[in-house]
Symmetry: D2
Subunit: 362 residues, 4 copies
């Protein structure tokens, strides 16, 4: 029962890596929004495996079909259902995984919980599940842009120990998309790509940090005390596969400062608006957006599925060895970028609708 | 509408720092659980300001009353309502805050969202709101202990740059409670206390990191894909006042390892159970508990309210200066320990009930 | 976990007939609404036992206290908690009920579900639980009136076979309150009162039908397909104690008409508004309000607790006889009137906020 | 945001009468349940238009495809997505409805709420939306049967003023399916069929009452005070198109009895079980199932779409006349039977899982 996310802008995803397909039902989308399958496809293509030499070579076309909720190019206010058929299944690559648990993957825990598991390629725990999220995120981003010119932009901040220098206040989508690793620090990006390729050749994997900024977020979003904006954002991104950490604004580093060093002093800007001089709060104070840029970071561990041999056990409880066959993804960070964007957009859109109501917002 | 947390074990908190009182309604508590006001009071006393020389000197007795849901010492399965009356109000300390916004506090955002605010002591954004959480957490911890012998233990891991050495696999409540800063590394604790006192004398504040371990958690808790256990834990603790970051298991540091270094290899233990050699996953894989210890960390920024003078603005939009009067809390970390424990216990208890049902679990 | 109702305007009730008290937490109330304890008390007094000679003689003062969420006479946008202390307990009246189940009461099912029960006066299944609903309903009614001049008026339509003649389109609160049975057909009301008194003297009880009208409801409220307005209204009133049936508009009688007889033809009124000539739809079409008066009816069975002797069983499974001691309520209909009003107001207010958002509605 | 129903067994439906298709996502289905597309298709065929001479002649094959959640014939515990493609569209039949509102249909209210509407055949308000419900209901019924041998059986009780004589305690699915109107009183069924055919020839429509019984329901289901079993059942069936009334047990007629006449006396049966002599409560007391048969009735108004000419208005606000072209359904009752069964099964299954947990119930 954990496959629904959001309150007023609410998505339900479905689908395993193998089977009929994966997708999403979006409930609560404002009516009369212009949306096309192409706009959704654009984001899916950013998420797609095989999009560049540094991702898994699986060729998933991931073509989406809008099944409902859109009529003559406009949303109806009814549920939007989007389906992406599964293709390119190579179950033989997964034969061994039917009996052997991949270390640090969800194989063993799914079996412990459900007593059954689609062992073909990860089943429900596959990153393929995020297709539904990214498709819904494309719509959320459009609503945010249209209602309040909100921009949500993510990028790779760090791969292993290679950290890019990026200004979240000015970075553009074009800069992010200018290289295949999606780190808008060109020099660092090149070194990242090199490291990923080298790691892939070794059959190993690496992780890193994705940073995300949301600009022009209206003041007043967030519902204390449990649905604080940072709490919902944390849940959103920590529900992504492989995420291990979340921070907002100053984050863990902020704990090294004193109060007088950390506090964001207020001033009145040229438009008479209350603003903060610094932004260690990351755009949220007391769980509510304050109009400054929302800035957060997500830690992604190195991918669990690797070609190196590891000790593991079988379903039947015998110790054995496993080295993943076929294709593996040495680093998911470049593909995690649109996923983080989607989750952040979904949270902001849900809170925007809580504030304005579904049919009043546009 | 953000004042309810949980699905089957569901709490709703209420109350501002000033007014009639604060409290909680707990819905879904299993029937026939033995519980007394004293057991709840024990946890409230750990949260209470004025409990030691390093916390705010406010003397809040915080005596709880169980209004409903318990009959002849046992829970009825009906909502348990717990009330703590407000006392010791010194509104004159807050006069200035009626017009001036405290930097990095929730004053300005509450005003932006609601257009009104109880300016006496933080209102709803006061840490006093966590009384309801801690009271509910006391019950959740009892259920967890009784059903599966689950232990949830938090402690101060770091204050500013002073980091204690603690083994989460063996630490005990007694060790945590053995000093007033709740860092079970005695030598480090003494330095932390000294730093807090010195900071308090300067009218400044400091933050740090609370670590939490949950031991004996049954396998199979967590609901992919959005209500993954780590996602719900992240939301839970990121809804606490002053939290800026969350990590589970290897967290941000895990991103510096490669897959082969990070993966937790499986083995079969002496009882025939599937176990992991290492625990970089922090007890959760694919969003589901795997039976290993759940280990997480929460970053708390330095308290916003300080006695040092800062630039700020008034409600009317004029720039001014503010130095908080009266009492201030130089470091909330020791009091955050029972809050983190409570939130983690609430999440685990909710997922336990999702797994077993309210009336079947005990 | 069934003690919360509503999505954006969300109430959680707590409390048993005996114990500390009963009450409600209201989450999502718009900020800056002027509200006083007196306004809430007015509705509680209409619900109170002992208010007239035809209700149970229990003297419950039912004085409410607002614990939170209101500051200087205005709502804060934070949870409003309202408490009514329990008094006048005569547990000796209930001694027998500790062991014997009252027929058609909730005693046996609570024991079957929870294995424990507060046997003093019905515990959680007591009509006393509705105090929280009526208190919250008072606030919902005020919001509805203020936002859109919506009036919610209920009255006794029928007691046993005595049916009043009332025009829902013009009936006023004053007319409803003009007699103690709350049937705004004076002549019929007198016969109802006589019948209730006679039934009470016999130790028996009677039921009937409450009708409710909501006028000036804006077009567009209701969320197809599951949260249709009539579906939420049905759930709301069917959650009241002793309710056995619900109908909207033409209801069961409408099934005797043909389509051409039943359909509400459209016309354009003098303001250019689309209206219907008749109102067999009861103000809702396709789950969405159409601007006509919402009219519904609720069937209440005769009260289960009677002084006449009945066959029953004990907790230990032995057959026995039971005649309730002390006070009994021969007819709850007059007191059900404010309960139905409250539930209808809560549903409408929730849907109003879904449409407009909490902070935008006033 | 009203397209999701249920808490632990939770369905989300999607789709309009025209467009890609309609369907459902079922979240929370217990793992390892054997289920086939054929079992679901069986129920869809009972719901399908064109199944007999008394329903609309539209030939909808309504073939379902399971997209996810089932692997090698067994459920995975992950979301089950079921899709039925739309076919046989005759948009020319609906041209007039693009501009003219059908009286007592949802055309006008959808336009008022969303400002846009799929005017081809009712869009989201079409009975076609119930395909998703009926598909999910097929799975819910299987779970109920498997866990506790619960049987859910509906039938036509009354068409206009023709009322069948049926014993809910003994009626079988075979008897219900023995005639096309699904009234297991053969003699009455024949008269009903005749009346429907005659009404259809006149271009008019008729309604009636569907009765539903659930047998072998375990004691203890239902969550007071708002999620009482009868409250959830009422919401479930009142969310079906064209429903105008709901009653449980004695219903509206029960209000004509006195307490001593209405109360269900208890006795101990031959197995030592607490039972009731009569069943005016309809299997639920205090919101919780008591082990007796759950019996409820739903009133369905005559279908709104008729071929007779009626006064109406256009979107542009001009008065006009409308007579529906093409096919119309003179009576939906026989097709409403599987819909009511599905909704009742969904509620019972949800409460069963609340009681036992998703993964523990089978």
């Amino acid at each position: 029962m954990g496959n629904t996310f959001g309150h007023l802008f609410r998505i339900t995803t479905f689908g395993e890596s193998h089977g009929g397909g994966v997708g999403v039902v979006i409930d609560g989308c404002p009516p009369q929004l212009e949306i096309t399958a192409e706009e959704i496809q654009f984001e899916l293509d950013r998420r797609r495996p095989g999009q560049s030499k540094i991702t898994t070579p699986r060729k998933e076309a991931d073509t989406c079909e809008i099944l409902s909720g859109v009529f003559e190019g406009k949303t109806l206010g009814t549920p939007i259902s989007i389906l992406v058929r599964n293709k390119d299944t190579r179950p033989q690559d997964y034969d061994e995984m039917a009996v052997k648990y991949r270390p640090s993957h969800a194989d063993a825990t799914y079996d412990a919980k459900y007593g059954i598991r689609n062992w073909q390629g990860g089943g429900r725990s596959s990153a393929r599940e995020t297709i539904g999220r990214v498709a819904a995120g494309a719509i959320a981003k459009k609503i945010l842009r249209q209602v309040a010119n909100v921009e949500v932009i993510s990028y790779v901040k760090r791969i292993k120990d290679l950290e890019g220098i990026v200004d979240p206040n000015t970075v553009t989508l074009e800069q992010v998309e200018s290289n295949i690793v999606r780190c808008p620090d060109e020099e660092c990006a090149n070194r990242m790509i090199e490291l990923i390729e080298q790691t892939g050749r070794q059959g190993d994997s690496i992780g890193g940090v994705v940073e995300c900024v949301a600009r022009n977020v209206p003041k007043g979003l967030g519902e204390p005390v449990f649905d604080k904006l940072e709490a919902d954002l944390a849940k959103a991104v920590m529900s992504l596969p492989a995420s291990k950490g979340f921070e907002i604004g100053s984050g863990f580093a902020g704990t090294l400062l004193t109060g007088i060093e950390h506090n964001d002093e207020f001033y009145i800007d040229e438009n008479g608006e209350i603003r903060t001089v610094t932004n260690r709060s990351g755009g949220i104070q007391g769980g509510i957006s304050n109009g400054e840029n929302i800035i957060l970071r997500v830690a992604f561990k190195p991918t669990a599925t690797i070609r190196k041999e590891q000790k593991t056990v079988t379903r039947e409880g015998e110790e054995t060895l496993l080295a993943a066959k076929g294709r593996h993804d040495p680093c998911v960070l470049s593909r995690a970028v649109p996923m983080v964007e989607a989750m952040v957009a979904l949270v902001l859109c849900d809170h925007l609708l809580r504030h304005h109501g579904q049919c009043q917002v546009l």
